[in-house]
């Protein structure tokens, strides 16, 4: 009758632990971001509140809570209040299908899965939950009745929906390789064998780029471009409503990195190639070790994302759209085609060669592909590489 109860209790424990971890991580990742920023810019960064500035997130949170909550004239009140919650809720419900460990084995041989919900549509649930985030951004921009917010919201919505397509197609390559939508199964396929990062390098790179764009991180953060749109869709927001937008962004980043680690880096797998690896089920100590390994991978990916943010300049909007629709989507369709043909022929261990073959094919046919319309070349900005007179290429 109650055979589902052990799994339910485990799931609730995992959910409570990871939820608090995500919220705490969101606060401390902002501190880490400021430290990384200071480091790349040869500064010191926040170091006044507590040892090495470690109490800074607490001070920030307290300050934001007692700040004046400000609603300007002319806003759509209901949507204005709803938008921050609509950003943070989809970000918070995503992690429930990510395996944070294998199976906990009891003495009588029964076992429970260390994840929030071991449902057989896990991967689809995660994309559905994360893509709901576009509502908060779009509605926040529209409700503010501010031109900056409106443009920022429009841009962010267009960007998120555009990058969802290559993300879905890259994910599809992994699903084809693994043959399942269960995240636990995808991890266990990589435990004995290669990581999908090595089997499907092109899909992994595509997925990572789309992850940056979906989370609105640099170099794709032009929805909140400070120089042109002040802050984009959260220009008019203040106090905790503003903080919810930021929390949503960082939790989204953590969940996306965990998703990447599960799909392409084998979750808690420590051996990237075929051979010995950690067992999938075991005692509580093994589970804690697996949890630590997953968190380590998540931290590595988040750190990489931060380094990307403070190293690369921001795209222009037409470049962003061009990259998604004329670059990533054809490329991901090609990778999908290659993967399905290789799966049909049963050459799944040669998928990495197929990825390299795709790149070689693109390099070969590059001269015959339709190029850019040449608009950028006709802007002779003084001091730029276009400042010298170039022949007019026509419209």
């Amino acid at each position: 009758m109650y055979e589902w109860l052990p799994q339910f209790i485990t799931s609730m424990v995992v959910i409570l632990v990871v939820l608090h971890l995500c919220l705490g991580a969101a606060a401390y990742l902002i501190l880490l971001e400021r430290k990384v920023c200071a480091w790349t810019q040869d500064r010191i960064g926040p170091n006044r509140v507590g040892p090495m500035g470690l109490l800074q997130p607490l001070a920030d949170g307290l300050k934001l809570f007692v700040k004046e909550e400000f609603v300007p004239r002319g806003v759509d009140r209901l949507l204005f209040l709803l938008a921050p919650a609509l950003t943070v809720i989809p970000a918070l419900i995503g992690f429930v299908v990510i395996p944070w460990g294998g199976y906990l084995e009891f003495s009588d041989g029964s076992r429970v899965s260390i994840m929030g919900a071991d449902i057989n549509i896990g991967v689809i649930y995660l994309i559905a939950a994360t893509s709901l985030g576009v509502y908060g951004v779009g509605l926040g921009g529209w409700a503010s009745n501010n031109k900056y917010s409106f443009l920022g919201g429009l841009r962010a919505s267009a960007q998120m929906i555009s990058y969802e397509i290559p993300m879905g197609l890259a994910l599809l390559c992994v699903v084809l390789t693994a043959g399942t939508l269960l995240p636990q199964e995808i991890v266990s396929k990589q435990l004995g064998g290669q990581w999908y990062l090595l089997q499907q390098p092109l899909a992994a790179i595509l997925f990572y780029i789309c992850l940056l764009a979906e989370a609105g991180r640099a170099p794709f953060d032009l929805a909140e471009a400070e120089q042109e749109l002040i802050a984009g869709w959260h220009t008019e927001y203040s106090s905790m409503k503003w903080a919810l937008f930021f929390m949503g962004e960082y939790v989204h980043l953590v969940v996306g990195s965990a998703f990447f680690a599960t799909l392409f880096m084998g979750g808690w797998s420590i051996n990237p190639v075929t051979g010995w690896d950690l067992p999938q089920s075991g005692s509580i100590w093994l589970i804690l070790l697996q949890f630590g390994i997953v968190l380590g991978k998540v931290f590595l990916l988040v750190f990489l994302t931060m380094m990307v943010r403070w190293t690369l300049p921001r795209f222009r909007f037409d470049q962003l759209m061009k990259l998604a629709w004329e670059g990533l989507i054809p490329l991901s369709l090609l990778v999908l085609l290659m993967t399905s043909v290789f799966v049909y022929l049963g050459w799944t261990e040669w998928l990495w060669a197929g990825s390299l073959g795709c790149l070689a094919l693109i390099w070969l046919i590059l001269p015959w592909l339709p190029g850019s319309s040449g608009v950028n070349r006709r802007v002779p900005l003084v001091g730029s590489r276009f400042s010298h007179p170039t022949p007019d290429r026509g419209p």
Partner: protein, 134 residues
């Protein structure tokens, strides 16, 4: 294989934590918005309540017409997103078939035809200039 209703009954408790988590997330969002609403000070002013436009007096409302390309982009997205959703069940089934068997070939051929249809639509949209933003 057990009957479908029984399998569903075995699966349903797995979805319970998701429902609880969604409720917790909604409570978290509501508490944060309400909390800052109750805790923060309130001071009103004629200039302060106006829309922020870099210190200038705001001109008109922001809810105006905007570029039609956003609409076209959203419609193109819809086509591709629905197509991708159709591909997921196919991918799971296709990967479990015997490689090289005739039915796997049938599966592959049908989905390639399906993909070809959307690639034709994609090329048409490209030629029409849907993806041009300059």
């Amino acid at each position: 294989m057990p009957p479908m209703s029984l399998m569903l009954a075995n699966q349903l408790p797995l979805y319970l934590p998701i429902v609880i988590l969604i409720v917790m997330a909604i409570i978290f969002g509501a508490v944060n918005i309400l909390g800052s609403h109750l805790l923060g000070p309130k001071r009103y002013g004629e200039e302060k309540m106006s829309t922020y436009e870099s210190g200038m007096n705001p001109i008109g409302t922001a809810r105006r017409r905007f570029n039609v390309r956003f609409y076209i982009l959203a419609m193109t997205f819809l086509v591709f997103d629905v197509e991708i959703i159709f591909l997921y069940p196919w991918a799971v089934d296709f990967a479990q078939l015997e490689p090289g068997s005739p039915e796997a070939g049938l599966f592959l051929g049908r989905i390639l035809f399906f993909l070809l249809m959307s690639v034709i639509a994609y090329v048409y949209a490209w030629k029409k200039g849907v993806f041009r933003w300059d």
